[in-house]
Subunit: 118 residues, 2 copies
DNA sequence: TCCATAATTCAATAATCCTTGAATTATCGA
DNA sequence: TCGATAATTCAAGGATTATTGAATTATGGA
């Protein structure tokens, strides 16, 4: 996966409805789910669901096929793997310790600040 | 990493300038880089850089500390690992084949369509 | 204290993205 | 062909997010 695809993928997953859709479709497996069933399963209007599914498809995260009157959407596992790989290889490149934490690594400044605020 | 943090993280990485910043900071390592040096390194105005850094910090992807007159930003490796884990565990939960492709898996419909368009 | 440097904050504008509901396209069965 | 179902497309509006330049805060040294 190259950078521009990764950017699309991050954008596609950066919203509650679409992240939920992807989760649902991963669970559904390769046989997928009809657009209307996804919409009903998460109480989103058909037209809005269509918008989000198109967005996910544009980003390559899901694929669609027509089956009689329904359009079936399925998660693209390759894209998910590709995104994970992108984060590991391309993004953390040259810094293996990102993936393999040193023993006794201390909490992040950000985390400490959050605790202090609470 | 929980869902709301993952959503913030995806949003933070879903843009060219910020993805570049994270890449640069991962390369820079734990000692980090001053805000101004990051801005200069990628020809972005200081005020705009500040905006993006704040966004990344809000998402927990980077941490900042003051050092004399400079403010030093560093990538939060834990957050990057957390995001990778989120994708693997939470998002692909119950579908191991997302991570371990079956032998002879065929190209995605999306990929075929792209080829056809070209 | 005064000046210069480093960065942030603020206000205004521009650009994107999301949602809604109506209109349209495609398919199937009578 | 006609009616019903499944989904998409379109246009309008609302809401977020990004960019810019000016004003502000914090720090260190003369």
């Amino acid at each position: 996966m190259d950078e521009s695809q990764a950017l699309l993928a991050f954008g596609a997953l950066a919203g509650e409805p679409r992240l939920r859709i992807v989760r649902r479709l991963v669970r559904a497996g390769p046989k997928g789910m009809a657009a209307g069933d996804i919409a009903a399963a998460m109480s989103v209007s058909p037209s809005n669901m269509s918008f989000h599914l198109k967005e996910l498809e544009r980003a390559g995260m899901v694929a669609s096929r027509r089956e009689a009157r329904s359009i079936i959407y399925a998660a693209d596992y390759r894209a998910l793997r590709g995104l994970i790989e992108f984060l590991m290889k391309d993004c953390c490149a040259g810094r293996l310790e990102v993936l393999q934490p040193a023993a006794g690594e201390r909490p992040s400044p950000a985390a400490s600040r959050k605790r202090a605020e609470a």
